[in-house]
Symmetry: C2
Subunit: 288 residues, 2 copies
């Protein structure tokens, strides 16, 4: 179905543009791809690649598609906005066959969806690889992404925000924090980064947060225990736009462990709005 001289790659695609970038990177590396879009989540633009949209639970169909395309290596990438409702699973024969394993996982209290999916894919004979292994250019490195650089006050907020993001990662709660003029004003958990930023905007509108000029930092880092193959924290143009609209000074991300999607647009937006985006050295070494 598609040409290429490398090993074919399966892409299980949630929402956003990251799955498209991974597909492009694989194709550039000479690998044929086949994209399985998750119904209700996947970007319609996966239509540009060999693909099929499946519902949660259509395991057998997925297996036969991947078999047909000679795929044993898989990337899972993209947003999942809605946790799957097990009662609405469309269980095909392939799914029914692995049900004992799924039920065993659920009985063990393993409620981490992604690690469960990775385990299952492993049992089905697939190797799960990280999107960053296919497209390393997606990952933040140390340094600035645009023209603007943090000043001294911003540097202090960066340190504090990275510490806060790290602290909530240690308790497996979230990946992001906002610090403004030395004060931790928002911590991310189940709501995700976008809604957390929206909250900061509303607190400012309501007069409950006050600052002048651009100030404050959104920091984002990976949890220590995060499986970067399937669950790398991400920022993109939407993040920069939200930070700019709120009046933050900039965004700091953990280098090597946070993904930047649509990098050219991220840089353009940062420059246009005079906010900075900076990759900072991994916390692990600094804190050790």
């Amino acid at each position: 179905m598609s040409a290429g001289n490398g090993k074919p790659l399966g892409i299980i695609a949630g929402g956003g543009t990251a799955p498209l970038l991974v597909a492009d990177a694989a194709i550039r590396a000479g690998r044929p791809v086949f994209v399985v879009g998750i119904g209700g989540e996947a970007n319609p633009d996966i239509a540009a690649y060999p693909h099929e949209v499946l519902k949660w639970g259509q395991i057998g169909r997925m297996q036969s598609l991947f078999a047909k395309h000679g795929i044993t290596e898989i990337v899972l990438i993209g947003n999942i906005r809605v946790r799957p409702d097990f009662s609405k699973f469309r269980l095909d024969f392939g799914a029914v066959r692995i049900m004992p394993k799924v039920l065993g996982m659920l009985a063990n209290g393993d409620n981490d969806l992604l690690s469960g999916v990775v385990k299952l894919l492993g049992e089905l004979g697939y190797t799960v690889v990280g999107a960053h292994e296919i497209a390393p250019e997606l990952v933040a490195s140390v340094g600035l992404l645009g023209r603007r650089a943090p000043d001294k006050a911003a540097g202090t907020d960066i340190d504090k925000a990275m510490s806060a993001a790290r602290a909530i990662g240690v308790i497996d709660a979230g990946q992001a924090a906002v610090v403004i003029n030395g004060r931790v004003v928002a911590l991310e958990a189940a709501e995700g980064t976008d809604q957390m930023l929206d909250r900061v905007a509303r607190l400012r509108e309501a007069g409950r947060l006050k600052w002048s000029g651009r100030a404050g930092i959104l920091a984002k880092c990976a949890k220590p225990q995060q499986d970067l193959r399937v669950d790398m924290p991400t920022i993109g143009p939407k993040t920069v736009k939200a930070a700019a609209e709120i009046g933050l000074a900039g965004i700091a991300v953990e280098a090597g462990r946070v993904m930047i999607v649509e990098r050219p647009e991220v840089i353009a937006l940062a420059d246009r709005n005079d906010v900075f985006v900076v990759g900072v050295a991994g916390s692990q070494e600094k804190r050790g």
Copy 2:
């Protein structure tokens, strides 16, 4: 103006009913009270006590009121929803006299409003005492407040939620966390507990959080560095009502360091809605 045989007590009152409870406790102990209500915040029911409503910055007026009533001991109690806007301060002569000190504090980067206010009141010759010293019955003790008790699953969530609340206290971010079936789903920062609970409700409505029956815990504890004289964490009927509406199993508070306002109503609401409210032993000893 008021009768009583004890030392008169000044009450600087933010919103809610806690200032009224402190006034009642002082009067029961035979102390005359004078309540200075913060304009835009104080409960209109302070009208039942000798009182006057002042704007932020009317320091001279406050001093003369307290002097008139022989007050040197002060309680600061009640919610402050809106951080004062220094540009809108109504600076009377008393305020102008202490301005050098205020400016010094601001220049030192001391942006913790309450500790600044306590320092200033000390400089003006007042002793700030904790509401819990006047009305110890306001504070949670170890054990249940209503009929319902946590089951084993709830016990696990209590431990995790208290750990999460403690972790964000250590970074001076917030006092409260929600854990549902082992997952940290919300962490409090500048938005406060009510808005955090509202967020959990909306995440459930949107299908982003799912659980069946009553499950999950709101935990609330004091930050390690919190000045309990002026800033004790609080739960009340609104908290119980919100927890019940969301479908949480219960509320856990750090005994000795969290205040329970309108305790009879808290207990009645907990029993009526079949949620529990439990005081658990202070984290400090457990974690040390």
